[in-house]
């Protein structure tokens, strides 16, 4: 009996001790984890960068067939006022032919205005306007051809040119971001 009691007591002791060590250890680990966060978070975009995350663009000076490039979040954004022919061409494409099928309607808010991030989806170069086999954009780095809706038609790029979030504040102004 006595020996059994002793063993029990010893067991209880061990358990209590382990519990204390475990609690202390895990409590320390949680603190160390929380401490790491500020050191990681400090590399994220800071408040002054975030403040520039949206840009307003005046569309009034752009004539049909012209496009402008503006800097948004350090990247070029193409704003193109498309001609009737370009729109017709973009809308007439058969979806089956496309590597990344998307209708022109889903890529624009108003057919006249095409707004997209001017960064080639292949490896990040900037495509050239009014170039390429599809009358749209052509990336000089590895020869990707985009059409008048900014969709990839030929070349190594996997996806269509990205459409940023934007809203029409009025007929002549859009806010990107």
């Amino acid at each position: 009996m006595d020996t059994k009691k002793d063993i029990d007591a010893a067991d209880a002791k061990v358990t209590r001790r382990d519990f204390l060590y475990l609690t202390t250890g895990s409590f320390t680990a949680v603190g160390a984890g929380a401490l790491a966060w500020p050191f990681i978070s400090q590399m994220n975009p800071d408040a002054s960068v975030k403040a520039l995350a949206s840009t307003e663009v005046d569309l009034s000076p752009i004539m049909p067939g012209q496009s402008i490039t503006i800097l948004w979040r350090g990247k070029p954004v193409f704003v193109r006022r498309r001609t009737e022919e370009e729109i017709a061409e973009a809308q007439a494409v058969e979806q089956i032919d496309l590597p990344d099928p998307e209708t022109d309607e889903t890529r624009v808010q108003k057919p006249e205005w095409l707004v997209m991030v001017g960064v080639c989806t292949h490896l990040g170069c900037i495509p050239l306007g009014n170039k390429g086999e599809y009358n749209g954009w052509f990336c000089p780095c590895h020869g990707s051809h985009y059409d008048t809706s900014g969709r990839i038609r030929k070349g190594p790029a996997p996806k269509n040119l990205e459409i940023p979030n934007y809203v029409f504040l009025n007929d002549n102004t859009i806010k990107i971001g």
Binding site: P38, Q42, M43, D46, A47, V49
Partner: protein
């Protein structure tokens, strides 16, 4: 528990045969036999390691946002404080961390002085320590210049002008330091570079410091040699946990400053951008330099002041030979112990005087305190070793020849 590390798996054996790094760490951080009677004054080594690593890591991330340019530095620090995610926290930890580092290093040095940890066979540990302290002083001074506030600028001006005291070459040296004809952006950029480099030199010296420590092993409050096994415990877990406990208490004070009084250890003039056309009314260094600043001003001669200030640190490197006593610990040195406390008070008084204007009674007191500071090392330390009759030393730390009373007092202190 205290067995040496034996690699178990085949992979571990393979690695350990070629690079016994686990064996090394296990030997020095886990199994290392440590005297079992170390008190909490021995925890500052660990605390200082923490301080150094904290400063290096926060400094590294601050450098990702800081701009070392005379026109942009001040605004970039405020950018860190205002815009960078948790930037205010990182900067306050770094700025307060410097003060905490010095609090810890002064206590660490005071402990070594009290228990005679600088004496044979630990002279080199102490001397490396003095060099670490010197590098800390230089690093902290250069770091304080980086925010490019008024105190940064004028502190840099005053301290770099000390070199103009060098006979014949003074001006050439200061111009070389400045890269200009006065303190300017050129100095800021080179100070930033050196401020970034020096902590890594300190880190290297710390490794030497610990290496040298692990040859004879730790001193202890009794100041007598220990018998391995009988008098020692493995470093882990006994001292790992004890050091971490002390560290967490230290961190509570640290956090108190960072979160609730982050600017109290700094100076308000440093929130004014550097202006080369206007000197602040009172130029005071950071609090941890005040004792040495008081020594500098106590000497009425430019070159003499500089020499005195440099000597005040340099003399520390010689105390293993200035102290003539055979007994290490002040516990058994009734006479020297009193002078030890006079030295501590003297140093604090110097610190107080360093913040006062150097006129009238402050100047006189400053000179007396400076005089004692040097006399303590040059005169008191060598002499007392001959005069003093030390108390009988215990045979071992496991069976100290202590009176009942002392034993009681001791157990109270340990609990």
């Amino acid at each position: 528990m205290s067995d040496d590390y034996q690699p178990q798996s085949a992979v571990a054996k393979w690695i350990d045969k070629r690079l016994p790094i686990v064996t090394l760490f296990s030997g020095h951080l886990m199994q290392f036999p440590t005297p079992k009677n170390l008190n909490y004054w021995w925890t500052f080594g660990g605390i200082l390691t923490f301080c150094l690593i904290t400063q290096i890591i926060t400094g590294l991330v601050l450098a990702m946002h800081y701009i070392a340019d005379a026109n942009l530095a001040f605004a970039s620090v405020e950018h860190i404080m205002r815009d960078v995610n948790y930037g205010w926290l990182l900067r306050y930890i770094h700025a307060t961390g410097a003060s905490m580092f010095f609090i810890a290093v002064y206590l660490h040095m005071a402990r070594s002085l009290f228990y005679g940890s600088y004496k044979e066979p630990r002279e080199l540990i102490w001397i490396i320590g003095v060099f670490i302290f010197l590098l800390m002083v230089a690093t902290a001074f250069m770091g304080y210049v980086l925010p490019w506030g008024q105190m940064s600028f004028w502190g840099a001006t005053v301290i770099t002008n000390l070199f103009s005291a060098v006979p014949f070459f003074g001006e050439a040296i200061t111009n070389w330091l400045w890269g200009d004809y006065s303190v300017s952006g050129a100095l800021l950029t080179r100070f930033f570079t050196l401020h970034y480099l020096m902590p890594f030199l300190i880190f290297g010296l710390v490794i030497l410091h610990i290496w040298a420590l692990h040859v004879p092993g730790n001193n202890n409050p009794e100041g007598i040699d220990v018998v391995k096994g009988q008098d020692t415990v493995p470093f882990h877990p006994h001292y790992v946990v004890k050091d971490v406990l002390a560290l967490v208490v230290f961190m509570i004070i640290f956090a108190g400053f960072v979160f609730f009084s982050p600017n109290i250890l700094g100076h308000s003039d440093n929130y004014i951008q550097a202006n080369p056309l206007q000197t602040p009314e009172h130029i005071v260094p950071e609090w941890y330099f005040l004792p040495f600043y008081a020594i500098l001003r106590a000497i009425p001669d430019k070159l003499g002041g500089v020499i005195a200030m440099v000597s005040a640190i340099a003399i520390l490197a010689f105390i293993p030979w200035l102290d003539s006593s055979k007994v290490r610990s002040c516990k058994y040195r009734p006479l020297y112990r009193q002078f030890y406390w006079i030295l501590i008070i003297d140093f604090i008084v110097l610190g107080y005087l360093g913040a006062q204007p150097a006129t009238g009674i402050y100047l006189i007191l400053g000179r007396l305190a400076t005089l004692y500071y040097f006399l303590h090392f040059i005169l008191v330390m060598p002499l007392i070793g001959y005069i003093e009759k030390p108390k009988p030393l215990p045979k071992s730390i496991s069976e100290p020849v202590l009176s009942k009373e002392e034993q009681l007092a001791k157990s109270g202190q340990m609990a």
